[in-house]
C-alpha cells in the first residue's frame, strides 16, 4: 500500500498540474442570443394559421425592414443586439437595395414597433403606420462558446491572467431575412447570412472580446446576407416570370418608365427591311 507520505515531490507535482489542467479545461461556458420569425408570426400553434393568398405586388414597392423581437429562450447573453446596432445593420442592408427601380422606399422600423408574438396583426399595424406592402423580417441566432486552452495554466501565476490569451472564443452567427408580402400573408423569399469567428482573450478582457466578436459576427453575417438576398431576389424575379399565376404584378405610376418596341413597329421595320433586301436581290439578278 502506498501512503501519501511516500509520494515523491515529482509525482505530487505531476498530479497537481494534471488536476489544474483538468479544472482549467472543464471551465467552458456558452451564451445564446436569438430571435425567431416563426415565434413572432405564428406564436400560438393552437390558433388558426393565416392562409396565404396570391400576392399582388404593386410596383414600385414600399418596403419595411425590422428585427423581430428577441425570443425568451435566450440565455446568458453577454452581448444582446442593442437598438443602435440593429438600426446600423438595417441601414447597411437596406442601402444595398434602395437603388432597384422596383423599390420605391425602404423604411427602417425600430424594434419597439414590433410587439413580441405580434403576428400579422402587428404587421398590419406597421403597414398602416409606415405605408409598406412588403416587410423584411430579420431574425438572428448567435451562440458564443468559451473554452480554456493550454495557456490557461499560466493563470496560476496571476500575471498570466493579464498577459496570456488562454480563453478560446467561438462565435457562430446566423442572420436571417424573410421577405413577407403583408396583404397576402405570403413569404416571397428568404435568405440567410452566416458567420463564424474564432478568437482568444485573456480572462481580464474576455467579456470585451466576446462583445467585439459578437459585433463582428453580426457585421460579417449582414454582409453575407446581402449577397444571399441579391441571389434570392434574382431567383424570385425568375420565379415571377415562370409562374405568373402565383404572383401578380401591378404598376403604380411614378417610378421606372421604359420604352419597348411593340409587335407593330417591329413588323413595319421587318417589312421595310425585307422589301429592301428583296428589291436589291431582284436587281442583282
Amino acid at each position: 500500500m502506498i501512503s501519501g507520505k511516500c509520494l515523491s515531490l515529482a509525482t505530487r507535482s505531476v498530479i497537481f498540474i494534471s488536476v489544474v489542467m483538468l479544472i482549467a479545461s472543464c471551465a467552458a461556458r456558452s451564451s445564446h442570443n436569438a430571435s425567431s420569425v416563426v415565434q413572432y408570426l405564428y406564436p400560438n400553434h393552437k390558433e388558426r394559421v393565416e392562409t396565404a393568398t396570391v400576392p399582388v405586388l404593386s410596383l414600385p414597392l414600399r418596403v419595411g425592414i425590422a428585427f423581430v423581437p428577441d425570443t425568451r429562450y435566450s440565455y446568458s447573453a453577454l452581448y444582446s443586439l442593442d437598438e443602435k446596432r440593429k438600426m446600423d445593420l438595417m441601414k447597411s442592408i437596406s442601402a444595398e437595395f434602395k437603388h432597384y427601380p422596383y423599390v420605391k422606399s425602404i423604411e427602417i422600423i425600430p424594434s419597439p414597433y414590433l410587439t413580441p408574438e405580434g403576428s400579422f396583426t402587428n404587421l398590419d399595424q406597421i403597414r398602416t403606420m409606415y405605408d409598406v406592402d412588403v416587410m423584411v423580417l430579420l431574425s438572428y441566432d448567435q451562440v458564443q462558446h468559451t473554452d480554456e486552452g493550454l495557456l490557461s495554466v499560466s493563470y496560476w501565476t496571476l500575471v498570466g491572467v493579464y498577459v496570456f490569451k488562454g480563453e478560446k472564443n467561438d462565435t457562430s452567427t446566423l442572420l436571417d431575412a424573410a421577405v413577407y408580402h403583408i396583404p397576402s400573408r405570403k413569404m416571397l423569399f428568404r435568405a440567410p447570412g452566416l458567420s463564424h469567428i474564432k478568437g482568444s482573450a485573456t480572462p481580464v478582457n474576455l467579456n470585451e472580446q466576446l462583445r467585439l466578436d459578437s459585433q463582428r459576427g453580426f457585421e460579417e453575417a449582414a454582409a453575407n446576407l446581402v449577397t444571399n438576398l441579391k441571389e434570392q431576389l434574382d431567383q424570385f424575379k425568375e420565379k415571377i416570370k415562370e409562374s405568373p399565376e402565383e404572383y401578380k404584378i401591378e404598376h403604380k405610376v411614378g417610378y421606372t418608365g421604359g420604352g419597348s418596341v411593340d409587335f407593330l413597329t417591329l413588323s413595319l421595320a421587318l417589312a421595310m427591311g425585307g422589301t429592301l433586301l428583296w428589291s436589291g436581290n431582284r436587281r442583282n439578278r
Binding site: 418608365g257 418596341v261 421595320a269 421595310m272 429592301l276
Partner: protein
C-alpha cells in the same frame, strides 16, 4: 430621287450601329453600369447630364433588350443600305428630345429603352422613302400612317398596342415613341438642306 444601288452604300452607320448594340448588351450585363447610365430624374436635375443620352442604352430584361435591339439594328441596317445621312444626328437629337420630354413628366423617375429612337428611325426612313418611286413609296406611306396611328393610340391608352413583352418590370411610356416619331419626321425632311438652300440665296425673302 434618292439613289438606290444594288451594292450597300458605304456610310458611317454600320460600325457605330454594332457599337451601340454591343453597348446596350454590355450595359444590361453589368448592372453597376446601368445604375450609372440610366435616365434618373433626380440625378439629371443634380447635374448628371450624360444620362440624357445614355438612359436609352439601359434595358430591364432580356426580352426588352432583344426586341428593342432587333428594331434598332433593322432600322440602322436600312439606313446603311440606302445610304441616308444624318442617322446619328437623329439618334442624338431624338435621345435628348425624349429625355427632355420625360423631365416634364415628374412621375417618371427612371427610364430606359431605345425604342423611342427606333420609332424615330422608322419614321425617318419612311419620310425619306416618300421620295422613292413605286412600291417603296407606297410602303413608306403605309408605314407612316400605321406608325402615327399606333403612337396616338398608345398615348391615349397608355399601353403598347400590340405588346411583345410578357415580363414587363416597368411602366410603358408611350410619349417616348411619339416624341421619337416627331423627331424622325422632322429629320426625315432634312431641314439642314433647306437651311443650306436658303443660305445660298442671300435675298431669299424676296421670293416669299
Amino acid at each position: 430621287m434618292v439613289r438606290q444601288s444594288t451594292e450597300p452604300v458605304k456610310s458611317s452607320v454600320f460600325m457605330p450601329l454594332i457599337l451601340v448594340a454591343a453597348s446596350c448588351t454590355m450595359v444590361y450585363l453589368l448592372p453597376g453600369l446601368s445604375d450609372l447610365l440610366i435616365y434618373d430624374r433626380r440625378a439629371i436635375l443634380s447635374g448628371e447630364l450624360w444620362r440624357f443620352l445614355t438612359g436609352h442604352l439601359v434595358h430591364f430584361s432580356w426580352g426588352h433588350l432583344f426586341f428593342n435591339l432587333l428594331g434598332f439594328v433593322i432600322a440602322g441596317w436600312i439606313v446603311w443600305r440606302r445610304g441616308y445621312s444624318g442617322f446619328w444626328i437623329l439618334c442624338v437629337i431624338s435621345s435628348v428630345a425624349i429625355s427632355g420630354t420625360l423631365l416634364l413628366q415628374p412621375e417618371v423617375i427612371y427610364f430606359g429603352g431605345i425604342s423611342g429612337i427606333v420609332n424615330a428611325a422608322i419614321v425617318f426612313i419612311a419620310i425619306r422613302g416618300l421620295k422613292e418611286r413605286g412600291g417603296s413609296r407606297w410602303l413608306s406611306i403605309s408605314v407612316l400612317i400605321l406608325t402615327i396611328a399606333n403612337s396616338v393610340l398608345e398615348v391615349r391608352t397608355g399601353l403598347p398596342t400590340l405588346d411583345i413583352l410578357s415580363d414587363r418590370l416597368f411602366v410603358p411610356v408611350p410619349m417616348s415613341h411619339l416624341v421619337g416619331g416627331l423627331v424622325g419626321a422632322i429629320m426625315g425632311m432634312e431641314p439642314w438642306r433647306l437651311f443650306i438652300e436658303l443660305t445660298r440665296r442671300p435675298m431669299w425673302w424676296r421670293n416669299l
